[in-house]
Symmetry: C2
Subunit: 165 residues, 2 copies
Amino acid sequence: MKRRELVNSACPIDRSLSEVGDTWTFQILRDAMHGVTRFTDFNKRIGLATNVLTARLQKLVAVGIFEIHESALGNSHEYVLTEKGRDFHTVLAALRQWGQKHLFDDDEPMNRVIDARTGQPPRQMSLTAEDGRELSPDDILVVQSRATDPIETAVPIDTPRRRKV
Amino acid sequence: MKRRELVNSACPIDRSLSEVGDTWTFQILRDAMHGVTRFTDFNKRIGLATNVLTARLQKLVAVGIFEIHESALGNSHEYVLTEKGRDFHTVLAALRQWGQKHLFDDDEPMNRVIDARTGQPPRQMSLTAEDGRELSPDDILVVQSRATDPIETAVPIDTPRRRKV
C-alpha cells in the first residue's frame, strides 16, 4: 500500500500510520510528551541523522501534530505538541505497557511511568465496552460508516473473523 | 539509534519499536486480529512485495508474536497470534481511536469497530491512575527500576518535564 493509499484509506489505523508509521516518529513523540521541544534535544536523545530528524519534524508540523513556537530569545524555535499531538499519548502509553509486559527479563532495568501525584504506576489499559466488559479481538466486528452517521446504519466489512461467526 | 540499541534500551517503547516499528507490521497485526492467518490473504489485503511480507512474518515468528500452525490439509501453514501477539490489540485499538478522532472529515466513510454483542462502539481509551483519574502527559514522571522491584525504589529519569517541576 503506497502512502497516498494510506492517507485515503477508510481504516483509521492506515491513516494514522501515514502520519506516524515509523520508529523515529514514535521516539520523537515519546520525547515530546516528556517535555522535549528543541531540535538539538531531540537529536541528542534519539541520535538520528540531522536531515532525517528535520524531515520528520517538518512532517509532524505539516500534519498538525506539532506547532512551531518562536523562543523568547528569538534565536531558536520549539516544537510544541498540539491537542492532536498530545492525544497520541494514549497510543504511546499502550505501546509502553505492551513492551513492559512482554519484552523485559525480571532483572533488567526498565523505564516506567508513575502518576506524579501518587508515585504509583497507571492502570493496565484495555479496550472496553460501554458497560465495562473487556473486549478481546474476538469480541469486536469491523463496520463502515461516515463518522457522523449513527453506528446502527454502518455496513459490515468482510473479515475472516466475521465469516467464521 | 540502531536496532541493537533499541532491543537493549531500558525504554519499553524503544523495545516495542524494535519488534513492531514499521507501517507494514502494524497492518499485518491489524489484519491478524481480524482473523487473517495465511500468507496469500495478508498479501492480498496489504499489497506489499512478497519478499518484504515474508521477512516481516518471519520476524514476527522469531520474536514470538506469531506461531506457525500447519493447516489440516498439510499444504500450507497459518500464522496464528500468540498471547503476546493478541495483547498488541490494545495498542492497535488506541491507534485506531486516535485516527478516528483526528484524521477523518465528517462525510468520509470510516472503518469502525463495534462490540459484537451490543453493536455499540467501545469506550474511548485513556491512561488512568489507580483511582481512575485520567493521566495526561503532564501528570506522569519517568522512573527506572527492575521490573520486579517495588515502584518505590525506582530512580527518577531526567526529562525536561521533570526539570520544570
